[in-house]
């Protein structure tokens, strides 16, 4: 029994590819932005599956770890908290269409010209060879990154660092009314700084007790 003469691996690939394309399509067609973000998560997941088929396990797992586990979580965070008015989003659709259509079309044509069959056809790119059992994609990547591509790798990390610092510098605003406390100072506080113990004589309020009554009570008890 075979489906259209496909190998098992091809079957898995086509299943993942169909899911990936559907998810990618839904990202831009669905009306609810939270759904769109979740479809993008699904697309990342299936793309990771396809990379696993290529024996690129490090890239596949990193895709899930970074994009699904961190980037999309923050995306969802923002999208969830927005109160998005869908009608206002679609307001300028017909007005922008005459410009958007040619621009979009041009981009599509350019992409086909570059990544199309002419440059990336089956005959242009050799089929990936299956690696032996002991092959570790992670170790290979690490070796290449820290030897052949060391400069590019370090430069990329510096660019990222600059981006992080810039993002923080742009959004950091000193809040004057903030009442945040410095825990280090809180911990250093001693009893002597806050508490003053005053020694004083006990003040006893004297009450007049009639002697006669006490005497009569005592005499009653003795009887």
């Amino acid at each position: 029994m075979t489906f259209f003469g496909l190998h098992f691996q091809d079957l898995v690939f086509y299943t993942l590819a169909v899911i990936l394309l559907m998810a990618g399509l839904r990202v831009i067609t669905t009306r609810n932005p939270v759904y769109a973000a979740l479809y993008l998560v699904l697309a990342f997941f299936t793309a990771a599956g396809i990379w696993l088929l290529l024996e690129a396990e490090f890239l596949a797992i990193t895709l899930v770890l970074v994009y699904v586990g961190a980037v999309m979580v923050l995306f969802l965070f923002v999208v969830m908290m927005l109160d998005i008015n869908l009608d206002r989003l679609r307001e300028g659709f017909w007005k922008a269409l005459p410009i958007a259509l040619p621009v979009g079309g041009l981009m599509a044509v350019e992409m086909v010209m570059i990544v199309g069959v002419r440059n990336f056809g089956v005959d242009k790119v050799a089929a990936p060879a299956a690696h032996p059992a002991g092959y570790s994609n992670t170790a290979e990547l690490g070796r290449v990154l820290y030897t052949d591509y060391l400069l590019a790798f370090e430069l990329a990390s510096v660019v990222l660092l600059v981006a992080i610092v810039a993002a923080i510098a742009l959004t950091l605003r000193e809040r004057r009314e903030s009442k945040s406390m410095d825990p280090a100072k809180q911990v250093l506080v001693k009893k002597a700084d806050r508490l003053r113990i005053v020694k004083m004589q006990a003040e006893v309020e004297k009450t007049e007790v009639p002697d006669a009554e006490v005497a009569t009570d005592a005499s009653k008890e003795s009887k």
């Binding site: 029994m1 075979t2 190998h7 098992f8 079957l11 939270v34 979740l38 998560v41 396990e57 490090f58 797992i61 990193t62 899930v64 770890l65 699904v68 586990g69 961190a70 979580v73 923050l74 969802l76 965070f77 969830m80 908290m81 570790s136 994609n137 992670t138 170790a139 945040s180 825990p183």
Partner: protein, 342 residues
């Protein structure tokens, strides 16, 4: 077998492997569910005794059938779908919470060669799976369409994302010592008795990892996500019956998972602390059991952290500690004392 292999034709090898893998998955998940069930009983008993109470003791001898009774009760309760909720995502939430909690067990080794998937990037896979678990919380909070659930999910998700970084960095130290991402190799790198376990050279990272693990699983004293006095019960306030139970299972399965990882990466896994007693799976059980007991002990001991203090601890204390220690290990590996860090 013959007719099966004829039926599937050229797909038979793949189908056979899939079938065997499914059987192995069941062999891992069923004991895990049992452990989760009895962890809830252990929690109630341990905290009970710490607070000079008896804990559950009515169902079965010593209360031993209490988890079953709880399970049956939750199964028969109605799962209420709030009218204003997003029904699809409301039901998807619990599934997304528990699936990664179980999926991560695929690469966890229980003994020499006793592992479902012996992959090279095992540790990365676990980090990826645990980072996906946050979707269950976010989706549940959003789909409930309730302000308490939403606030709870925001708190919880922010906390999980923050402590994931400290946890990941703590594990980088382990990778540096073990020279491998494979969990089995990490354990074997610690062979040679108690003094060779990674918790000694990586002591600060071990402490950071375990505290981050407590925060990551939203357990006391980091359980502001379900601070009952402020936001009722957090992200799962709208859930009832089995849908709630699934979140509950996921939380306890995650507790067992992070304890397992701590035992494997810092406490030598199944290795024996002394040479005259053989290595065994029982050692691993004992270590995981002890770490789980710590979880319960913390809950009975510490008051709840304030939210801003949680964030400060994660970002301003733990992450700097881990970075400094990673640089320190890297430096020490270039000195004559490098053998102490392998």
């Amino acid at each position: 077998m013959e007719w099966l292999s004829n039926l599937f034709g050229s797909y038979w090898p793949a189908v056979e492997i899939t079938g065997w893998t499914l059987i192995k998955i069941v062999a891992i998940v069923v004991p895990l569910m049992g452990a989760v069930a009895y962890l809830t009983l252990a929690e109630r008993k341990v905290i009970g005794y710490m607070q000079v109470r008896i804990g559950p003791n009515r169902v079965g001898y010593f209360g031993l059938l209490q988890p079953l009774a709880d399970g049956i009760k939750l199964l028969f309760k109605e799962v209420i779908l709030p009218t204003a909720s997003n029904k699809t995502l409301f039901l998807l939430g619990p599934v997304l919470a528990i699936a990664p909690a179980f999926a991560a067990w695929a690469v966890v080794p229980f003994d020499m060669n006793l592992v479902l998937a012996d992959i090279d990037a095992g540790l990365l896979y676990i980090l990826a799976m645990t980072s996906v678990a946050v979707y269950g919380v976010i989706i549940a909070g959003w789909a409930s369409n309730s302000k308490y659930a939403f606030l709870g999910s925001l708190r919880s998700a922010a906390q999980i994302v923050s402590y994931e970084i400290a946890m990941g960095f703590a594990l980088v130290g382990v990778l540096m010592c073990a020279n491998s991402l494979n969990l089995g190799k990490i354990v074997m790198g610690q062979s040679g008795g108690l003094l060779h376990w990674y918790f000694l050279p990586l002591f600060p990272l071990f402490i950071v990892y375990f505290i981050s693990a407590v925060a990551e699983t939203n357990r006391a004293p980091f359980d502001v996500a379900e601070g009952e006095s402020e936001i009722v019960a957090g992200f799962h306030v709208e859930y009832s019956g089995m849908a709630f139970a699934v979140f509950f299972l996921a939380e306890y399965a995650n507790m067992i998972l992070v304890s397992m990882l701590a035992a494997l990466m810092f406490l030598g896994g199944w290795l024996s602390p002394v040479s005259f007693i053989p290595d065994s799976f029982l050692w691993l059980l004992a270590k995981v059991g002890f770490l789980l007991f710590l979880f319960l002990w913390f809950r009975a001991t510490f008051p709840r952290y304030r939210y801003d203090q949680i964030m400060r601890l994660g970002w301003k204390v733990f992450i700097p500690i881990t970075i400094v220690w990673i640089v320190f290990i890297g430096g020490m590996m270039q000195t004559p004392w490098a053998h102490l860090f392998h």
